[in-house]
């Protein structure tokens, strides 16, 4: 026991010497906290983000071996050019031809600041979120056990896991998930024109129309899409009606139910029925189509939906968010009043949230 301290130090020396980051990377990654962002929710103490760990996570993210029969990788439905969403798809096909998921692929950006993950908040930590896409039959339909078997056969993975996690037999489920989190946690989008405007940086000069759009946005949209992340991170029923082709969709109700065997009929009585997480609007120009099931292709359609009097109209379920109900002399109107000009200005502003540095950052791309 008395040797343990010396051994520990020697062990660290040994491990740190055996890793040579220059071998793989021409850049350095560490968690960068933008000045205009809130504190991260990501547990950097539990899972520090290092260049080597980031690169291991990236290799895994783009590795087909995470899926059944090595068919697809995470990048299949999360393309960088579209803020890591599935370029134009409402729903996405998994490893089985013709079998689609039930939710629109969400962007992977600023994950380190989120309280909950997926449309219904099935996870409250980024760490184990990848269990869902890896194991869901409609997505990658693989088991963690099989993934580990495949990775263990690869001597490069053996070496890189050991180097990042500094233990023998380092290819474990926990370390696989931690590596993916190191990659996704470092994917911060904070250099849009809007950010530069807020921080008073070069390239951050707003046009009159953009300024008008920002003011309107703050007045009409920022109750829910608030703050630097452009989401209050709540789960709300926003008036989107049931999708008849997805009859098993219950939104957050299945998560907040204490009964894992609750039926759709039972969940319809839940106050969380058809509630979904308010999405961040960063890079929203690129993340089309919109809504949890991707039913709206254009931003203008989304604004028409939220508007009080243009189609598509809102559906009033009993738990429709109160902030979307206007009462004037006992007359109820659903939505947010907006003129056509105002909608155009808001869309002009929303386009300032596009972060081209993030969309083109080669560090996040699949390595050549």
């Amino acid at each position: 026991m008395k040797y343990s301290k010396i051994i520990y130090i020697l062990f660290i020396v040994f491990v740190s010497c055996s890793q040579n980051s220059d071998e793989y990377s021409a850049f350095e990654i560490k968690f960068h906290q933008p000045v205009n962002f809130p504190s991260p929710t990501f547990d950097l103490e539990d899972n520090p983000i290092t260049t080597e760990g980031f690169e291991l996570g990236r290799k895994l993210f783009y590795d087909n071996r995470l899926s059944l029969n090595n068919e697809i990788n995470c990048g299949e439905c999360h393309n960088q050019s579209h803020a890591f969403t599935h370029h134009g798809h409402d729903l996405s096909e998994g490893v089985h031809p013709g079998v689609f998921g039930t939710r629109n692929s969400q962007p992977i950006q600023n994950m380190a600041y989120m309280n909950d993950f997926t449309w219904d908040g099935a996870k409250d930590k980024l760490f184990d979120q990848p269990l869902i896409p890896i194991t869901e039959p409609v997505e990658m339909d693989e088991t963690m056990e099989n993934v580990l078997v495949k990775l263990k056969k690869d001597s490069e993975y053996q070496q890189r896991f050991q180097s990042v996690f500094k233990t023998e037999d380092a290819i474990t489920s926990v370390n696989l998930l931690k590596a993916l989190s190191k990659f996704m946690g470092a994917m911060v989008s904070s250099n849009s024109k809007y950010d530069k405007y807020v921080r008073g940086e070069e390239g951050g000069t707003f046009t009159e129309e953009e300024k008008k759009g920002l003011a309107l946005f703050q007045q009409k949209c920022a109750t829910c899409h608030n703050g630097t992340l452009f989401t209050n991170q709540e789960f709300i029923n926003n008036g989107i009606g049931e999708n008849p082709s997805l009859p098993n969709e219950t939104g957050r109700a299945r998560i907040s139910s204490s009964n894992p065997f609750a039926t759709v009929e039972e969940l319809k009585t839940s106050d969380d029925y058809y509630k979904f997480k308010v999405p961040s609007l960063r890079n929203v120009e690129k993340t089309y189509p919109y809504m949890h099931d991707g039913r709206m292709i254009l931003l203008s359609t989304v604004l028409d939906f939220y508007d009080t009097d243009t189609y598509p109209l809102m559906t009033k379920m009993k738990n429709l968010d109160e902030r979307l109900i206007q009462t004037n002399q006992k007359e109820e109107t659903l939505g947010i009043p907006m003129t056509e000009d105002e909608k155009v200005a808001i869309i002009t502003f929303l386009k300032t949230l596009t972060d081209y540095e993030f969309l083109n950052d080669s560090r996040f791309a699949k390595p050549e």
């Binding site: 040797y3 020697l10 996870k123 269990l131 009964n259």
Partner: protein
């Protein structure tokens, strides 16, 4: 040159590290089993079990599944000191499907400091504190859970316990089956701690691997000892509706199903690697995986 030097240092470090851990825990070679908990279940998979439904009628069901995770194993010495065993060593999945012909599932405890102990406690399932805590400390728990004890789509992914049984009555069109999957779900907390006193002092030392006879009375999940606060559970109410009283009672009843019997104090020392080999086929999921 610098690299070479550090490699040599590293090699020495690794050698020291390996030799040190071996000195601490081995009998001669391998991993000394400190003690064995033998869980004797009241039923086997496939046995018929008679339960009462919400109409107070008896129903006969065939038991298909009974399994639970234990974590945060703690032993208390005769001097009242708590010895906490790390979950990466002592967490286990007890699955009746892996039992021997006497309905027994063995759990091997290792790395328990030598000494005298008077009681043991363990959590049934995984506490919220552990699930939200260090991910490295969940390495073993997560692998135990992966096969059949994981809700990937729930914030706390661990399923603590499962029991399933099929009604043998084929005359009714919708026979009532038993299905209960327990965990922390939807704000309902299901984690319970089991405290068990040994009937005699448990001595842990290098020369022996004592075993602790523990019974698991499955009936008590439904018909507990009401005189000490348990409440009956109609089996068909489980798996319906929100965290109702029946489910609450059911989870609480887990505290009553375990009972410690005698200890075999002088069993010859065994080595984990040997028993893993012997029991590989019957206990694939409960054995330590390396």
């Amino acid at each position: 040159m610098k690299t070479l030097k550090s490699y040599i240092l590293g090699a020495i470090a690794a050698a020291l590290l390996i030799s040190c851990t071996k000195n601490n825990e081995s009998i001669e070679e391998g991993t000394h089993v400190s003690a064995v908990i033998k869980f004797y279940h009241s039923y086997a998979i496939g046995d018929e079990i008679t339960l009462t439904d919400s109409n107070n009628e008896s129903q006969t069901l065939t038991l298909n599944k009974f399994k639970f995770i234990i974590s945060d194993v703690m032993l208390r010495t005769t001097d009242n000191e708590q010895v906490h065993l790390p979950n990466n060593i002592a967490a286990n999945l007890i699955d009746l499907a892996n039992a021997d012909e006497t309905n027994k599932v063995r759990v091997y405890l290792t790395e328990v400091p030598f000494g005298s102990y008077k009681s043991i406690s363990f959590g049934l399932g995984v506490s919220q504190e552990v699930a939200n805590g260090s991910t490295e400390d969940q390495t073993r728990l997560m692998e135990l859970a992966e096969a059949d004890m994981q809700w990937t789509w729930n914030p706390n992914s661990y399923i603590f316990s499962k029991i399933e049984a099929t009604n043998t009555n084929t005359e009714t069109t919708t026979p009532k089956n038993l299905i209960a999957h327990v965990g922390n779900k939807g704000g309902f907390s299901s984690y319970v701690t089991i405290d068990l006193e040994f009937l005699e002092t448990l001595i842990i030392k290098q020369e022996i691997s004592p075993s602790i006879h523990t019974t698991v009375d499955i009936d008590k999940l439904f018909t507990p000892d009401e005189s000490i606060g348990g409440a009956k559970v109609p089996f068909d109410l489980l798996g319906h509706g929100e965290a109702n009283d029946a489910f609450n009672n059911f989870v609480t009843n887990y505290k009553e199903i375990f009972e410690i019997g005698h200890i075999h104090p002088n069993e010859p020392a065994i080595n984990l690697e040997d028993v893993e080999e012997n029991h590989h086929t019957e206990e694939t999921t409960t054995g330590h995986s390396h």
